[in-house]
């Protein structure tokens, strides 16, 4: 058996697939199922596995002057002070009769102690920053929850800032993130399942949902899609998103990315599943609809009519950011009769000395604008402002004076640019920005006919798209009156008594309906 696996591992090591290799090496360990009773065998095994790992510390010491023991940990992932004070100090001073594992466990004043039975367990614990204690004559070890590493402080997420509302954001540590969620939803019904994926990175993925609101079928579906993932590493939650989304070739995001615990909690309360990936401050939410991508947490933190009005403004500018330049090109090259005469005359005059057709002009300016935006986003902040000043000059005044573009075109590009920044989610904004280019081509070749064709194609795609089984354009298509309360308008909170897209057999009520009917009685009694 061992030889077979040995040969296999040799074969695979010479192969190209690194992930298979890692899997094989772990498999190799599993063959020797348990830890040995001999301390030196275990230590030798682990030393071999961690060969050339300079950050692994094997701290050998003696318990109570009699029993030899080894504490294994990764330097930088543990709290050394706590280990010294609460593990090493009590053990070295110990004068127990028998140094059994259970006795040792009783001696050490640490809350999280787990038993390690196999080398795989040990590696898992060590990798996660839990120091492992192996003791002479014991076929098991102990691991302590004394991990600690440098973390970023909880800050306001810069990509999703709000005027009102909480300012905390997720960070790179998954434990902190689940704690942030738990602080929002304290009910024991908030379930957070944990799995590990990534053969090398061994990244923790947490699946959070509220039992009783989220449909069990949805949770099962998420788990079913996560289970078969075989990948060498997961560095960001987008890795997971791409592997489990319904249509990987769609331009439209089918999961919502957020760095805000309040947004995640809100979606948990609507029956969605939240995926947290260790090492990434951005969590993913599913299922979503198109409209959730156009909603901002601010909608709910302002009073409802402000929220509704701003939502409409956002819908309008979403359309503008998709169609702005293409409508301009179509009207200017095909449908001149649609422009009011004085405006047409002004436009004609401004275009008089422009050498390019309107389509080329639009493409030129839009590409320039996208380049500027990207340059500004990637550069350090100090240089970024310089880029924007130069860019504003390039695509503004100078381009007009040079006779490259006309001033109405600069206006259209600028308005479209502003419009694309209005979408509260970056990923839908970038989708629309991409779609703008084919739309411009269609408009430049076919006029309004092309624009309409483009819209039909996009709509067609959106109508077939689903996010974890939920139609992308619901509740408008298919129409579900009950769920319309949060799409076109943001209804007052007191009217949101039911959960959206809740299955029929589950708890529908979000707030007690008695609350408002009883308020009259309360008034009478006073």
């Amino acid at each position: 058996m061992i030889t077979v696996s040995h040969i296999l591992s040799r074969l695979l090591r010479s192969g190209q697939r690194r992930s298979a290799q890692a899997e094989q090496s772990i498999h190799h360990l599993q063959v020797q199922a348990d830890l040995s009773e001999e301390l030196h065998v275990n230590v030798e095994l682990l030393r071999n596995i961690y060969a050339d790992c300079s950050d692994i510390i094997f701290h050998e010491f003696v318990i109570g002057g009699r029993t030899r023991a080894v504490l294994i940990y990764i330097d930088g992932l543990i709290n050394v002070e706590e280990i010294d004070r609460h593990v090493l100090a009590p053990l070295q001073r110990d004068n127990l009769d028998e140094h059994s594992l259970s006795n040792i466990r009783r001696t050490i004043p640490v809350t999280s102690i787990t038993t390690v039975k196999t080398p795989v367990d040990a590696i898992e614990a060590i990798s996660n920053g839990r120091p492992v204690l192996l003791v002479e004559k014991e076929p098991q070890g102990l691991s302590f929850g004394l991990s600690e590493w440098e973390k970023r402080a909880i800050e306001e997420p810069t990509s999703e800032s709000v005027l009102k509302g909480p300012r905390e954001g997720f960070i790179e540590s998954i434990r902190t993130n689940t704690a942030l969620l738990r602080r929002k939803v304290r009910s024991p019904n908030l379930k957070i399942r944990m799995i590990r994926k990534g053969n090398y990175t061994r990244t923790s993925i947490a699946i959070a949902y509220i039992d009783g609101i989220a449909s069990p079928a949805l949770v099962e579906e998420v788990m079913r899609r996560l289970q078969p993932i075989e990948i060498d590493g997961i560095l960001e939650s987008t890795y997971i998103e791409e592997l489990i989304e319904d249509n990987p070739f769609s331009l439209f995001p089918q999961m919502l990315a957020t760095e805000r615990p309040d947004v995640a909690a809100a979606y948990l309360l609507e029956g969605c599943v939240v995926l947290l990936v260790d090492g990434s401050p951005s969590v993913r939410i599913a299922p979503i609809t198109m409209y959730s991508l156009l909603q901002s947490p601010e909608d709910y933190y302002e009073r409802y009519f402000i929220g509704s009005a701003i939502r409409w403004l956002r819908y309008l500018f979403f359309a503008i950011s998709l169609l702005g330049p293409s409508l301009y090109v179509a009207i200017l090259t095909f449908h001149q009769e649609m422009i009011p005469t004085p405006l047409l005359l002004t436009m004609a005059r401004s275009r008089e000395q422009i050498p390019f057709p309107a389509l080329i002009e639009a493409l030129l300016m839009e590409t320039m604008f996208e380049a500027l935006r990207e340059a500004g986003a990637r550069l350090p902040k100090q240089i970024g402002s310089a880029v924007s000043i130069v860019g504003a000059l390039v695509i503004g005044q100078a381009a007009i004076s040079a006779g490259i573009v006309s001033s109405p075109m600069v206006m259209v590009v600028a308005i479209t640019g502003i419009a694309s920044f209005m979408s509260p989610r970056f990923n839908i904004g970038i989708t629309v920005r991409l779609l703008r280019f084919p739309m411009m081509f269609l408009a430049g070749f076919l006029g309004f006919l092309g624009v309409i064709l483009g819209i039909i194609i996009i709509l067609n795609h959106l109508l077939t798209l689903r996010s974890f089984g939920v139609p992308y354009l619901s509740p408008l298509a298919p129409m579900r009156n009950r769920d319309l309360k949060d799409v076109l308008i943001r209804v007052p909170t007191r009217m949101k008594a039911e959960y959206p897209h809740a299955p029929a057999d589950r708890n529908h009520e979000r707030q007690s309906s008695d609350l408002w009917s009883d308020s009259g009685n309360g008034d009478d009694s006073t």
Partner: protein, 401 residues
Amino acid sequence: MTRKVDAKLVIKRMKLAVRLILPVAMLTLSGCWDSTEVNDLAIITAVGIDRTEDQQLELTVKIYLISPSDIEGSNGMTGSGDTGSGQSIIRSVKGTSIADAASRLQQVLTRKVFWGQAEVFMFGADMARHGLDEVMDFLTRQPTIRERANVFISGTTAKEVLALNPPIERSVSDALREMVNLQTWSGTSLMKLSQMMSGKSRAAIVPTVDIIEADYETPFPYISGIAIVKNGAMIDQIREEDTLGIMWLRDIIKPRKTITLEPGKHQYISVQLIRGHTSLIPSIEDDRWKITVRSESLVKIIENTTDRDYSIPDHLDQLEAELADHINRNINQAIDLAQQKWKADIYQFANVFHRAYPKIWARQKDRWEELFPKVEVKLETNVIIRRPGMTGKNIFKPGQR
């Protein structure tokens, strides 16, 4: 089982075929490749059509000119928004028919002729007298020509009016359009004219334009009255002062129309219309065709140089009756003109009868020509003075205290 699989396969292939065909079909869709840049267009703002002495048609177009000197101004952000009057040019071509002339127009222009912005269509007086039917076919057949464009008949030739450069507006087209908008009655659009000319009555009214030649000012056009078009040709013209009855009957009267009465010698009372509406109610009894003209108007008093005090309800009642009388006189006069002089149903009574009595109309429609002069007209005019003004009587008159 195998059958099921086959069906699936067929559907899959069909889907693939549709996906392939769609983009190809998109590219070959006809009529969509003719994109034109806006700076390659000769933008026609007004069209004039005359009949020359040698029985040819002369097509005159006013084209907005984008002169290079203008563009330098628009380079900077300080761009000159000013639009002088010398920015339009005139091009004139002759042809045996309007289509012939239109096709020749391109020969004298370096840019693509663009009809889509033509707001004014002006027919010369000779042309109108000879007949508009041929030209109207061309104008209504082209999809690029605006149906909402205003139609006028010139007192002289259309060319003369188009050659004017009114000082305030950008071009003569703008000037005429604005004038018709601010008139006290709505003008006639190309669509309305074609409906009236091709409708049951085959009679229409079109505003006429004349030129004022003042010695202190560049000549400018103004709307002088109404031309009566019957069976495609202009048969008469009446001056603006005499059009009140026609406006009431056509229900095209607009607020701001002022009516002045003279109850005593050199004593005037003027009222302005706040709202006016006329409805024609047809009835046929024993082969007697009748129309009831019911008009409602709300007016305000804007001038009073009489001795009456319009804070007294009796005086108001009296004025209301006088106004109704005045309107009735005008309407009767207009009806007499149409029924006796022109024998032209310019008030579209035919439509009204057709709508109310479709069966009778179907039997009698060929006799309309002889029926129309015999239609009895009953007037129900109601005038209400809504705002007598801030003062009752004229407090500035010496004899009044």
